[in-house]
């Protein structure tokens, strides 16, 4: 089997996902196209050599519909011969794109693939594409579906994570992100977004709140208590009868931020790298995807990582850094508890609570962040993992070369 190498990984800064966010005036296909252009110029790449553009996009409707990967290639002026696609595995889409690209290369089917994702939550809100799982009552009943925030609160209840504990985790995320931004740790992978006239629109992630305190976080109201009271708590308890009542601890302050953004990772075979004079930065050792219990929904990362390590023939002690998507604070707390991973190794630059989670773009962004950080710290191996809707988990293991 071939090896799949990461030659480069870029991302846009994350703009606030509301109408007053900096990236709100930039259409999503352009966010992705800009990254394709950047990849080509940074790596002196002839786009004609790219075999496929695999783009994750979760709310694939309206201006994000119709195979946005191909649309971005067209907009970037890439040759007609470069195909593109869109895929959806909810929050795991970006990493799924990377994993599919790795599979294409490792199988020998393709040589050079761009993989990533795009999500403009300010222009195409979450849920805009509808869907069977979140809205068809038949499926909701079958799966004992609850809103993901209620799932996160269920995780907190089962794990004994108090409001204070999840707020503390959120505070750390903000602090780490603020430090990373101040130190410029993201500079290598972040490509500033410019408008048609070349004017700068956004250069850095904009929603981080360095001045966050525990008091500020404590004042926020729980976001999912009402939904829980309407009936979702009862649905969750029906699956988890050992729970007397669900403690609602998640707020806007300890859940992932709503943002706009895109990511793109250049993945190829050894031969392609040599042929196109690309320097490999890391190898994608292996990938894994799992399904998990849909009511609690967000517990996929631990089983995904276990599956990953088993496939790689490695153990946790072989891994230096983890990027565990901060969908909600309790998700990461549970991951760390379940696997026994110390907090010092997890999300060292902060995470989605501070920086934002542009749904389908996030997986690619975390690959870029992890790679930069492994290089900066001269460490060897890292794992990216995310939970996803309907009960799924995804992971990828990268190793610097």
């Amino acid at each position: 089997m071939e090896s799949a190498y990461i030659y480069d990984a870029v991302r846009t800064p994350r703009g606030k996902g509301k109408q007053d966010g900096s990236l709100h005036r930039v259409k999503p296909v352009r966010l992705l196209a800009g990254l394709l252009t950047a990849l080509a110029s940074r790596n002196r790449l002839d786009p004609a050599d790219v075999d496929d553009v695999v783009a994750g996009c979760a709310s694939a409707t309206g201006e994000q519909g119709a195979a946005i990967g191909k649309a971005a290639a067209l907009l970037a002026g890439w040759p007609d011969t470069v195909p593109g696609m869109q895929l959806d595995r909810f929050c795991a889409s970006g990493l799924e794109a990377v994993n599919i690209a790795a599979a294409k290369v490792m199988s020998g089917m393709e040589s050079l693939v761009v993989a990533g994702g795009v999500e403009s939550m300010s222009r195409v809100p979450m849920g805009a594409a509808g869907g069977a799982i979140p809205l068809d009552p038949e499926l909701m009943n079958l799966a004992f579906y609850v809103a993901q925030g209620v799932s996160a609160d269920l995780i907190a209840t089962l794990g004994g994570y108090t409001r204070e504990k999840v707020d503390e985790f959120a505070l750390h995320s903000q602090q780490k992100a603020a430090a990373a931004l101040a130190e410029g740790w993201f500079r290598n992978s972040v490509v500033p977004v410019r408008d048609r006239l070349g004017e700068l629109v956004l250069a850095v992630d904009e929603i981080c709140k360095p001045d966050t305190t525990m008091e500020i976080l404590a004042r926020l109201k729980p976001s999912f208590a009402k939904m829980g009271a309407l009936g979702m708590d009862q649905v969750a308890i029906a699956k988890y009868p050992q729970v007397q009542s669900i403690i609602h601890v998640h707020t806007a302050g300890n859940s992932s931020g709503v943002v706009d953004g895109a990511s793109a990772v250049l993945i190829g075979s050894r031969a392609a790298g040599e042929r196109f004079c690309l320097r490999p930065r890391a190898r994608i050792v292996t990938t894994a995807v799992v399904g998990s219990e849909p009511t609690i929904m967000l517990t996929g990362p631990a089983p995904a990582v276990r599956k990953l390590l088993a496939k790689a023939g490695m153990s946790l002690s072989d891994i230096d850094l983890f990027e565990v998507n901060e969908a909600f604070a309790s998700v990461v707390l549970r991951f760390m508890d379940e696997l026994g991973v110390p907090e010092e190794q997890v999300n060292v630059c902060g995470g989605a609570i501070a920086l934002g989670h542009p749904i389908a773009a996030t997986g690619g962004m975390l690959v870029a962040t992890l790679l930069d950080e492994l290089e900066r710290r001269q460490l060897r191996r890292g794992i990216v993992t995310l939970c996803a809707g309907a009960g799924m988990g995804i992971a990828a293991l990268i190793e610097r070369v």
Partner: protein, 710 residues
């Protein structure tokens, strides 16, 4: 025309007035034939009229489907249901595409299929009468409106307005229906209604349904439209909160209604039909229809009342003992217009009780269920008293004093002196044998048990208990009394625990056994509620108060010693556990602590001390826990049937549901066995018996009877 009157008036309006045999217009085979005939005639004579009014010659419009017919369709199986509703749908389609405007003149209540008929008309005007109601009761029978009701309601009103009507089975008055958009106009009386309908027809010669017009869009858009989506995203959970996932109809109606917004009219009808047939085949539908409709109707019609005895109307009732039960009974009598003498040891006590009964009335007035004038009239019927002599002239006296044999017997002897010879003497005891108490009565054939449940104003069932010497006339009159105060009578024979207490006691007993075996109390409680019981077995003990239950347990032990028998032993674990809890000064909710700790705001959490006493780490399959709770009650009910405590399945089924909340989707304790399948039930009971104890062994005789299906 058979079952309807057909005429064309001078204004050129064809009037079809449905008038079937019997008191109500019901959608049975005769109705279907009538509608076929009417439609054929309307189609043939279209050139002779400019519009159609569909109305009814009865007090009501059309009362909905014939439950017997629906059950027969279920039993026939195959394509029968699809064919039948296909025919109904085709009929309504013929009506709404007749090519002439059609108005529904709703002179009275239109429910279910009757409302569907109205929705297939282009215009609806209703008499705004006090008893006129509109609604879709199908969800309560475990099915859905299948002649286009879901589809048309959604297309007329939009999802958000149609869904509560379809999923909750509420019946609304004309004004509310008008505000909702379900009907177009109201009228004061028949004449005004007909004139209104006629005027509309003449002014709208080219009427067509909105969904048959070009450019039609469902109000509010389809299910994915943002406004609908946010409501829809919580609706399954809201339904689950009510039904615990045990009643599929409401969920299925939601799914059908949502899907109907994505497809064309014919496809929507097909989807509605498919979902109806699937619901019809569900065990819950059969249980609901047989128990909550047919068996309830049998009880209302007096199936357990001795035939031949003349119907008795009570004018003056005496209540001995003005405690919680006594004042509740007084409230029930006064509500029904019966004069009631409420006697206690002191006038002060009796007047205090009347004041508390007044509070029950006040709450009804506040809710809008009663006018202040009606309340005052009813309150005036309650006469507080302290002297036995004031009970003179009562046709019925109900005793509701402390559970003390000697006290009760003495009271019966004393009151007999002031009562007419044929007066009925009833006791509200929940523990003491009727035949034992009857020894205090001068005329045992007129002595009977009337077991009310607490709180009386909310509990609609009364358990009538016949002592060994209770006469048939007494039973018949007791039955009449319960119906007169608008409650549901079930008839049982005098055995220890009667029927309801005996069967229900098994629930907390089994819950306590699970607790003592070390099962996590949170799991016991949640799984108890998941079976469909209103509260978990531990919470129920807290609510009834364990000190009271302990006293009853000890009273039963004493009776066992005195009379022979072993009744108290059947809930011994419960009694012992309650003794333990009361010994720890944790008697229940009213004290702020029992199995749970109770906060001032009503919130409760399980007492952490339970772990120290009983553990809580014993693993047990969830299925076993749920089955133990259910089967324990059902097997005891089967023993009651075997011993002749209860003689009919209907009394057991209805009694169990109404008296202690046995899950309604099962159809009651006996229907539970039939739904499960008698053979499968025996197998499972055997498994439970082998693993957990002989108390799960059912008696063989009743199983045979239940297997035979009567």
């Amino acid at each position: 025309m058979r079952d309807a009157n057909y005429e064309i008036n001078e204004a050129g309006i064809a009037i079809v007035s449905i008038d079937m045999a019997g008191k109500l217009n019901i959608m049975n085979d005769a109705y279907v034939a009538m509608l076929d005939e009417a439609l054929t005639r309307l189609e043939a004579e279209r050139e002779n009229f400019v519009g159609v009014i569909v109305t009814s010659a009865k007090d009501g419009f059309v009362a909905g489907g014939d439950v017997n017919k629906i059950l027969a369709l279920r039993d026939t199986g195959g394509n029968a249901a699809q064919a039948f509703i296909g025919h109904l749908k085709a009929q309504l389609r013929r009506l709404e595409t007749l090519g002439r405007p059609v108005a529904a003149a709703l002179n009275g209540t239109a429910l279910g299929g009757g409302l569907e008929l109205a929705l297939a008309c282009h215009y609806r005007v209703a008499i705004d009468g006090p008893k006129v109601r509109f609604g879709f009761p199908e969800v309560g029978l475990g099915i859905l409106p299948a002649s286009g009701g879901v589809v048309r309601a959604v297309r007329l009103l939009g999802l958000l307005k149609a869904l509560p009507l379809l999923t909750q089975g509420k019946q609304i008055a004309a004004r509310e229906a008008l505000a909702l958009g379900l009907i177009d106009a109201v009228a004061a009386d028949r004449a005004e209604m007909m004139a209104n309908a006629q005027a509309w027809l003449l002014a709208n010669p080219k009427a067509a349904q909105p969904w048959d017009r070009k450019g039609f869009a469902i109000p509010g858009g389809d299910m994915f439209n943002l406004a609908n989506a946010s409501a829809l995203s919580v609706m399954p959970a809201m339904i689950f909160k009510q039904t615990r996932g045990l009643l599929p109809a409401a969920e299925r109606i939601l799914a059908t209604a949502a899907e109907s917004t994505l497809v064309g009219f014919e496809a929507a009808l097909a989807i509605e039909g498919e979902n109806f047939c699937e619901l019809l085949a569900s065990p819950a539908a059969e249980s609901l229809m047989r128990t909550m409709f047919l068996q309830m109707n049998e009880i209302s019609a007096g199936a357990s009342r001795p035939a031949g005895a003349e119907k008795k109307r009570f004018r003056k009732v005496g209540v001995l003992g003005a405690g919680m039960m006594g004042r509740g009974i007084a409230h029930a009598c006064a509500s029904a217009g019966i004069e009631v003498v409420l006697k206690d040891v002191s006038l002060e006590a009796a007047e205090g009780a009347k004041a508390l009964a007044a509070k029950i009335f006040d709450a009804r007035v506040q809710r809008g269920g009663m006018t202040a004038a009606a309340r005052d009239e009813a309150l005036a019927l309650i006469r507080p008293a302290a002297r036995l002599a004031e009970l003179a002239g009562c046709d019925l006296v109900i005793e509701a004093v402390f559970e003390d044999v000697a006290l009760k017997q003495r009271m019966f002897a004393e009151v007999a002196a002031v009562l007419p010879a044929d007066a009925i003497l009833a006791t509200n005891t929940s523990t003491l044998p009727i035949s034992l108490l009857a020894k205090g009565a001068s005329t045992p054939k007129n002595f009977i048990g009337l077991h009310f449940f607490s709180p009386v104003e909310k509990m609609h069932v009364v358990e009538i208990i016949c002592g060994a010497e209770t006469g048939q006339t007494c039973l018949a009159q007791a039955y009449d009394f319960v119906q007169q105060i608008k409650k549901t009578p079930i008839v049982v024979n005098d055995h220890r625990g009667f029927f309801t207490s005996r069967v229900f006691s098994m629930y907390p007993d089994e819950g306590d056994r699970l607790l003592r075996e070390g099962v996590d109390p949170a799991v016991i409680e949640n799984l108890g509620r998941q079976t469909g019981m209103p509260v978990g077995p531990l919470a129920v003990q807290d609510e009834v108060m364990m000190d009271m239950m302990l006293r009853a347990y000890q009273a039963n032990q004493k009776l066992d010693a005195e009379l022979g028998g072993d009744y108290a032993a059947t809930f011994q674990v419960c009694g012992e556990t309650q003794a333990m809890m009361c010994g720890l000064d944790r008697p229940g909710r009213a004290a702020g602590r029992g199995f749970y700790d109770y906060k001032a705001d009503g919130e409760k959490t399980l007492w952490p001390g339970l772990a120290g006493l009983f553990g809580g780490n014993t693993g047990m399959p969830a299925r076993d826990i749920k089955d133990r709770l259910m089967f324990r009650m059902v097997v005891e009910a089967l023993r009651c049937l075997d011993e002749g405590v209860v003689e009919t399945l209907r009394d057991g089924n209805v009694g169990s549901i109404l008296a202690f909340g046995f899950p309604v989707h099962t159809g009651g304790v006996f229907r539970f066995v039939q739904s499960y399948g008698a053979a499968a039930f025996m197998t499972r009971a055997g498994e439970l018996a082998r693993t957990y104890g002989a108390r799960f062994e059912p008696p063989a005789g009743p199983i045979r009877r239940l297997g035979a299906g009567h």
